[in-house]
Amino acid sequence: MPRITIDEQEIEVVAGATIIQAAGQAGIDIPRYCYHPGLSIVGVCRICLVEIEGMPKLQVACYTPVAEGMVVSTKSERVQQARKHVLEFLLANHPIDCPVCDQAGECWLQEYYMQFGLYDPKMQEDKNKKHKAVVVGPHVILDAERCILCTRCVRFCDEISQTHELGIFNRGDHAELMPMPGVALENPYSVNTVDICPVGALTERDFRFKTRVWYLDTTPSVCAGCSTGCNIEIHTNTERTYKAEGRRVARLKPRYNAHINQFWICDEGRYGFLHVDADNRITRPAVRQSDGFEPVSWQDALQTLAEEIEKTRHGGGKIGVIGSAQMTVEDLYVLREFSRRFLGGDKIPVHLRPFEEPYHDDFLISKDRHPNTRGAELLGFSVSPAGISKMLEACHKGEIELLFVFHHILGRGFESGYIDEAFAKCRRVIFIGSNEQATSERAHMLLPASTWVEKEGSFVNRDGRIQKLNQALAPLGESKPEWKILRDLSRILGNALAYFEPGDIFAELAASHPAFQGLSLHDIPADGLLLSTTAAEAMAVAGEPG
């Protein structure tokens, strides 16, 4: 392991590391544009120049490997001058249109100009004009004048998505980033190019002109789009929602997790928040009347429901539950306990047969679009799609009096009329979910559930890694997390489930099931925790309904 000196600090670094990586280890942040730890190294932007003793010229820190005894300065007069000059070149043709640029506030041209630039511009010549506001794909818009030709986005498309849409055409100061003629930037991971673009050249169409980034709050969480469980940041805008048509979630951004998604997320997951503040959110409990749904108070809704449950149980009728692997570990645990206590069983299916095979690949996007299938499995829920089919058949035969459906859209993929007939045979169908859809339209009672950005809890991803969700927003309207709905209902039914927050639920789970043994919800690390498989398997057996 070579020993080197950086800014008078002596450190030992792994052989083969570059200076920028070694400096990072020592807590020294060398400026960079083209360097990105998730991509190959090209050394084209020159902002990372450092002075190395014994070398006549400044060297790029991103490309130069460390060598035994190397003495590096990242702060010398020459380095500072060089950074100034590099910035002046990078900005020579830049339109400086920060006031109308979405990147402002998180732009590395602004950042480094304020840190290292602050020069008097000497350029007298006219600036080159390039293409502005070019829609390059379904989600991305390009301003070629702002581009500093760092090639990060090109390398992303070559190395990560491997779709090769972007290139740099022409040369000198006419060089311009563009997609291949006739080709759109529409790979399933396209918006990562926006994340890694250090300037405002690539921006998001969805986020365009919605809000200034400095008004955003950030909450670390986990994507609920599929069983991969990519780590995300939820960026919320709660003070100025009028700027964004009432939307509180401004955007999702990837959050680094070495075990799962590294620096990336897929586009489908990125826009998986659009339902959160959509017009069709269910915000109040409601009961079907002859002429549509009538809003009712939680108290009245749960009272009615409790009576229905008691009536059914008294008459020896059966109650069916269709759960969902969109629900957190905590929601599912409470559902299981609730069902055991009040519904007479815990044989609960959570997976619906998909009506068409969804896109998936061997990078991130998983065929299973549920974030918590493993969690459901560990808790003893049935993840075979046969479960829901059987439940619906039982409804058809008139065997189910009361049916609870969590989240699932029962519509597409069934013969027309099949669901209507099944529901018609049940005395009551209760839908617990966040948005109006095919199931809610046919249900007798609606109970509004919070979305995953509005709750705390955990998911277990496809590898058995448990990860914590954090609440970024207050539940919309009167919606509540599912565990709270069930807890409140249990209070009316007597024999109440006593939980006050997801941490309590998790603690009970950890005390009773080997896979979660010794864990606490609030101590789950930022990058999650791999549940021990043997314990997890043991628990799957223990959790099997007896």
Partner: protein, 157 residues
């Protein structure tokens, strides 16, 4: 449209490819060989090269856009490249260009409808001693006067 090359060019490309351990490195020589045969590089040619050197077509397109010597549009049988840099300009390069535009009936950057002539302006061709000059296909010609130009063009017809 299918793309094919003469056997000779194919053979030359095979030969060139053997010179480089990295296939990609053969890009430029192959492009030159194709241009020699076809006069320009069409989209089909670009895709063919991409296949030969095993890179996505966009990488060839980047190269083509970098080098002005590689033509991505069909050019005339006679290509006039008029120098527009200092020495030639001082010695009347501008009027040479204007004369050519009039005589050929096309503007700089255009190709005549009959596909005979293409006119472009280029930077210093390192033949300042014969300024004002132009390059006609592979030949340097200068110092030029309008009369000499007339003679030259009439000789081509």
């Amino acid at each position: 449209m299918s793309f094919s090359l003469s056997e000779q060019t194919e053979a030359k490309i095979d030969q060139v490819m053997q010179r480089y351990p990295e296939k990609r490195a053969a890009t430029l020589p192959i492009l030159h060989l194709i241009q020699e045969e076809k006069g320009w590089i069409s989209d089909e040619a670009q895709n063919y090269v991409a296949q030969r050197v095993e890179v996505p077509p966009i990488k060839i397109r980047e190269v083509l856009s970098f080098y002005t010597l590689l033509h991505t549009r069909k050019i005339g049988k006679f290509h006039f490249q008029v120098c527009r840099t200092v020495a030639c300009t001082l010695r009347g390069g501008k009027s040479i260009l204007q004369h050519l535009e009039k005589k050929l009936g096309i503007k700089s950057g255009e190709t005549s409808a009959d596909g005979m002539f293409t006119l472009t302006e280029v930077e210093c061709l390192a033949a300042c001693e014969i300024a004002p000059m132009l390059q006609l296909n592979d030949d340097y010609i200068g110092p030029l006067t309008p009369e000499k130009l007339d003679e030259l063009i009439d000789g081509l017809k």
